[in-house]
Amino acid sequence: MTAVALPQEVAAPASSRRRWLRRYALAVAGGVVILFWFAVALLAPVISPFNPEFVDIASRLQPPSYAHWLGTDALGRDVLSRVLYGSRISLIAGFSVVVISAVFGTVLGAIAAYARGRVEDLLMRLTDLVLCFPPIILAMAIAAALGIGTTNTIIAMLIVWWPKYARLARSLVLVQRSQEYVEAAHVLGFGHAHILFRHVVPNAIGPLIVMVTLDLGNAILVFAGLSFLGLGVVPPTPEWGAMVAEGRELVQQWWVATFPGIAILSVVMGFNFVGDGIRDWLDPHARRR
């Protein structure tokens, strides 16, 4: 038998691919879960077997069956259809709270760090003031004062949500502003606004993106919590937190509260996985941990 040197594949060693997979498998899984819920939110009217608000007292509190995969609630409404429709309001609420407060907070924080002096003091004391309240209690007080309803709850959350972005943006911009490229841009004659939003902010945006992703899950969680407390949506709108509230005393009819809760858990975990993945990817230092 003669030894033949076979051509070896050297491109990507299996070990590095395996390491990539191990590192980002959770992030990919989280992304898939989020895409799934996005698709559900878009297609809810098409894929729901029943009208989520259709009351059928005759078939109330039925356990999961072939007709009602996830059972029916105390008013005979189909739990599966309500869970599918519920994704809409959760995703909308989560995204509007986080995106609006991230933009608003970042602009304020960036201006504070760039302007320094009086402006910075004033803006930062303002964020300190909001941050000295526990977010959920403050949001609850505001939501109660504004009256029950999805929009009011989102407004209440926005009021307590933006300061952390202002703080983060400020600290990020403070680091960037002493860099040489800022000086260079000044020398080249660019205006303050141009330097701040076209040069400094894009350079500081990595940690912000991580925070936004992790925060989406958190915002969905808090919104569902406020709904659970009766401050979020007006019934009979299908919403996950409110559904758990409706089923919270039905220990024997566990399906009423269990499935909407699993929906919340899966979305929040999805965003947490993706956020962790992005952090590892952006920060090689954290990658080793």
Binding site: C132, F133, P134, I137, A141, L229, R248, G261, L265, V268
Partner: protein, 337 residues
């Protein structure tokens, strides 16, 4: 050190003052009308009743005058009369607070006693099965909605397995010990009532576990990250080179320096437990501040809402102050900055 201290005290005081203003403005400029919310449809349709109601609660005075009255009241510990219970708000809070403090403290101890060792183990044995377990536990804790977790625990351990007692603080037929602190565990021990003590402790297990879940996740995560950071420092290498036993390196050298961020987080986490209590107590029918807060919010009972928000904000500010102080001891460099 003294300057640092006075600085912090003044800041905390200003914060408390500003907090009263914020709370007052929320309660008094919001569109929700307490008169209409409280009187019911029939009475609200009669302008005479509405007017009398407003005059009785001082709702017809100008805004700044009402703020001044509110502030004077707060200075005397007077938060007005709860519209819902018709009692001084402070009395209500005094009645409900012990149940929450008891629950939150047990939950806090649980999350620290499990979270810190778990975080240390996960850091020391990185990428082992215990690290994965720790990661999974903290992830569930952070991602699961508290109110849902509470329901699941009740459904599984009370409804299905029937090994845990149902909602509430004690069995409805249990004889309560004479009220001293309002915290049942302590009162039972003072009265020597071991029967009720066992019952009360059993009722605490589920709500305390639920309440601890989120905090436990955060503490485990932070401890792990912080331990990994300090284990990679030079002084740890020096300690290894000196031939110190591993447990002394981990617990003596690395842990002490790793605890600083954990202390910050722990302080905030305790304050957050008071918030998490709103959800947990609502599900477990726990007669504490959380359920009281929830009921006041639903009834738009402004004096009660204002008082609770204010008190929780003061607790928040106080805990932050204590955390700052403990920095000064754990890391004297923090004072100089």
């Amino acid at each position: 050190m003294l300057r640092y201290l006075t600085n912090r005290v003044v800041t905390a005081f200003v914060m408390v003052l500003l907090a009263t203003l914020v709370i007052f403005l929320i309660a008094n400029t919001a569109p929700g009308d307490p008169a209409l919310a409280q009187l019911g449809d029939l009475a609200a349709s009669n302008p005479e009743y509405v007017k009398a109601f407003r005059a009785k609660w001082g709702l017809d005075l100008p805004l700044w005058e009402r703020y001044w009255i509110f502030l004077k009241g707060v200075a005397h510990g007077d938060f007005g009369i709860s519209i819902m219970s018709q009692r001084p708000v402070l009395d209500d809070i005094r009645d409900f607070a012990p149940a929450t403090i008891e629950l939150a403290t047990i939950a806090f101890l649980l999350s620290i006693l499990i979270g810190i060792p778990l975080g240390i183990l996960a850091a020391v044995k990185r990428d082992s099965w215990i690290d994965h377990v720790a990661r999974f536990v903290s992830l569930i804790g952070v991602s699961a909605p508290t109110f849902w977790l509470a329901f699941i625990m009740l459904a599984v351990f009370y409804g299905w397995l029937e090994i845990a007692p149902g909602p509430g603080r004690v069995d409805p037929i249990a004889l309560l010990p004479p009220k001293v602190t309002g915290m049942l565990l302590i009162d039972c021990i003072l009265a020597g009532d071991w029967e009720t003590l066992r019952d009360a402790a059993a009722h605490l297990v589920l709500p305390a576990t639920v309440l601890a879940a989120a905090t436990l996740g955060l503490i485990t995560r932070t401890t792990r990250a912080s331990m990994l950071e300090s284990l990679s420092q030079d002084y740890v290498r020096v300690a290894r080179a000196k031939g110190l036993p591993e447990w002394r390196i981990v617990l003596g050298h690395a842990l002490r320096n790793a605890l600083i961020p954990v202390v910050t987080l722990g302080g905030l986490a305790y304050a957050n437990l008071l918030t998490g209590a709103v959800m947990t107590e609502t599900v477990f029918s726990w007669p504490g501040l959380g359920r009281y807060t929830f009921r006041s919010a639903v009834a738009v009972d402004f004096p009660a809402i204002m008082a609770i928000t204010f008190i929780v904000a003061v607790v928040y500010i106080a805990i932050n102050f204590l955390v700052d102080m403990s920095y000064a001891f754990l890391d004297p460099r923090a004072v100089k900055r």
